[in-house]
């Protein structure tokens, strides 16, 4: 294990027509940490995520993951990178025509064609159970699941290939407080057990307080600060102060005790 960051973004610039979303943005994610990314609506949190996982080509800037620069990577290297990370999209993005078990098997089948069917089924089942669902949910279709269960099923799919790096886009959005807290614990547990590094976008202050090791604040088209919440609170930036010291921020801090 070394100290090089798992994700390193330098000088990123993204724009849609005239509208510049990111300008000269730098961000690092260290091995084994949970980095929370916060920012107001429209500050380009999801665009940042999409740039890192290669769904959106940046105008400028260097992005390297596991020490490999992704825009220089060949198609084969890119595929190999994809095998080493998992992504949980905001609404789950489960394939609606496949059952939960089949959804989890999709990446397995794609990358490892010669696994036998029984083992594949067992793998899918224990990943589903690991993500907090029951084995009898495996043959269900996404439309038969509640919002929270769908998130868990999507998490099972993103963990299918034993990734070292996990991207979560607002994992607790739309969950009730109990479900959200349970999901936070699940993420923390899985991170410990599987040795994950997690890049997490969230609006949920409780999530930030309970599971994030570090928080990066996105504003004015770049990362204006990153560090533990205590470090951020010491800064004198109006948005950060309002975010963490607003009524909800204080409540979350008090809840953490």
């Amino acid at each position: 294990m070394n100290d090089d960051p798992i994700i390193s973004v330098r000088g990123l610039r993204n724009s849609f027509g005239e509208h510049v979303v990111h300008e000269n943005l730098d961000i690092d994610v260290q091995q084994g940490e949970i980095l929370g990314v916060v920012g107001g609506s429209g500050t380009g949190k999801s665009v940042l995520l999409r740039s890192i996982i290669g769904l959106q080509e940046p105008d400028e800037g260097e992005i390297s993951i596991f020490g490999e620069q992704i825009d220089c990577a060949t198609a084969e290297e890119n595929l190999d990178l994809r095998r080493r990370w998992g992504v949980l999209f905001q609404n789950g993005a489960l394939f609606s025509t496949l059952t939960v078990a089949e959804n989890v098997q999709v990446p397995l089948r794609e990358f490892y064609k010669n696994i036998d069917e029984d083992l594949l089924c067992e793998i899918a089942t224990f990943k589903i159970v690991m993500s907090g669902l029951k084995a009898e949910d495996a043959p269900k279709y996404p439309s038969e699941l509640s919002g929270g269960m769908r998130k868990r099923a999507a998490l099972a799919r993103s963990l299918a290939l034993d990734p070292r790096l996990l991207f979560l886009d607002e994992p607790t959005a739309g969950l009730d407080p109990i479900g959200a807290a349970a999901f936070d614990n699940l993420i923390l547990e899985l991170k410990e057990a599987l040795g994950l590094t997690i890049f997490l976008i969230t609006h949920d202050l409780d999530t930030l307080h309970t599971i994030c090791d570090r928080v990066a604040v996105l504003a004015d088209k770049k990362v204006i600060a990153s560090g533990t919440i205590e470090e951020l609170l010491a800064l004198d930036h109006p948005w950060i102060q309002e975010y963490f010291n607003g009524p909800r921020g204080r409540a979350a801090l008090a809840a953490k005790g």
Binding site: D116, C121, I123, T125, D162, L194
Partner: protein, 369 residues
């Protein structure tokens, strides 16, 4: 040392031991799981001290050795032990796959299911028609509830934008009928009867029928897809909550548009088919347009036109109904939208042709043959 997972079976002091080597990860497993399944003895120990790396799949395989044979795992690293604990917790004996049933039973089941489905679909369509009539009654009593903008907009998409394609299709079909008819009738020296053929078959049947098929493919499918996607996005539920009945706001304008526009489109199509036929008669058979029209007026009775025009609104209504009904049946996932769109077109064309047969019998029996 190779990175591929492998194991050897040993006998240590009377105890059977499997010793693993390489990487116990999904990428390097190879045939290890199959070979473990066919072990002849029950290992008492699984030695993983020589294993380089373990992932959850490797941990699962080790866990199965413990679960199925009671084997003790020795030499596991901290990380491997954590993973094995994690998958042990995640082992849920409940079945995650349905058992396969026999072919005969499956076939029988499928036949039964589709029969029931066809019947319930027809019943649903009838109930839907009833609902639409009630909504129509309400709108007739309170004419201000008719969403006139919506109706006019449907008129445009169903009617005006279809003029080009329906016109072209009809014109070409007219040419084909005249050409094929002329070839056959020439054998009897009766080429002049091509005019009877073109005139009567287009006004009575083909004008309206081909238009119905085109409208079903163009508008019926669009209705199903639009309403289906709205249903998935809960827009229909939102309308109901606000107090806008979907029957009045979505379905009535659409069905009204197809019902009112089918006679117009059917007539337009008939005229263009006759024009196509006339063109071929002129060029191919040397019958000048004046003669063609004169002869047409002699051989095509007015009742033929009525036959076509009476059928048209009925077909239009069926197309609109089937499209909207199938759209409203969408639930669950996006694939359903595609299935229901197909079903809308198939159901509409099928019902149109069945009804056309009834109309044919009916009109001949009242002497409009």
């Amino acid at each position: 040392m190779s990175l591929d997972a492998d194991f050897t079976e040993l006998d240590e002091g009377g105890e059977r031991v499997v010793r693993f080597s390489g990487r116990l990860t999904i990428a390097r497993l190879g045939d290890v799981p199959q070979r473990l399944d066919t072990l002849e003895f029950h290992p008492a120990q699984a030695d993983v001290s020589a294993v380089d790396r373990v992932d959850t799949v490797g941990a699962w395989i080790l866990h199965k050795l413990t679960r199925d044979y009671g084997a003790e795992i020795v030499g596991a690293s901290d990380r491997a032990q954590r993973l094995i604990r994690q998958v042990t917790i995640a082992d849920d004996p409940a079945k995650s796959r349905h058992d396969d049933e026999g072919l005969f039973r499956r076939t029988l089941e499928r036949v039964g299911e589709s029969t029931l489905e066809a019947l319930s679909s027809l019943k649903g369509l009838l109930a839907f028609f009833g609902g639409l009539l009630i909504a129509t009654g309400r709108v007739i009593r309170h004419p201000s509830r008719l969403r006139i903008n919506s109706v006019v907009q449907r008129f445009e998409t169903v009617g005006i934008s279809a003029l080009g394609i329906i016109g072209l299709m009809s014109f070409l079909i007219g040419i084909v009928i005249a050409q094929q008819g002329a070839v056959q009738l020439r054998q009897f020296g009766a080429e002049v009867f091509t005019i009877n053929l073109v005139g009567r078959i287009t006004t009575r049947e083909l004008g309206v029928l081909m238009t119905a098929i085109m409208v079903a493919g163009r508008s019926g499918s669009a209705f199903a897809a639009q309403i289906g996607s709205m249903k998935l996005a809960e827009e229909i539920d939102a309308m109901r909550t606000i107090g806008v009945p979907p029957m009045e706001a979505l379905i009535l304008p659409r069905v009204l548009a197809t019902t009112l526009l089918m006679p117009l489109l059917g007539f337009y199509s008939t005229v263009l088919m006759i024009a196509g036929g006339g063109l071929l008669c002129w060029i191919g058979l040397g019958i000048p347009p004046e003669t063609f029209i004169l002869r047409l007026r002699e051989v095509v009775p007015m009742t033929d036109l009525w036959v076509g025009l009476i059928k048209a609104p009925v077909f239009g209504m069926i197309i609109g109904l089937a499209g909207c009904y199938q759209g409203m049946q969408v639930h669950g996932n996006n694939e359903e939208v595609g299935l229901r769109t197909t079903a809308a077109v198939v159901q509409a064309i099928f019902l149109v042709i069945v009804l056309d047969a009834f109309f044919a019998v009916f009109f001949s029996s009242i002497g409009w043959g």
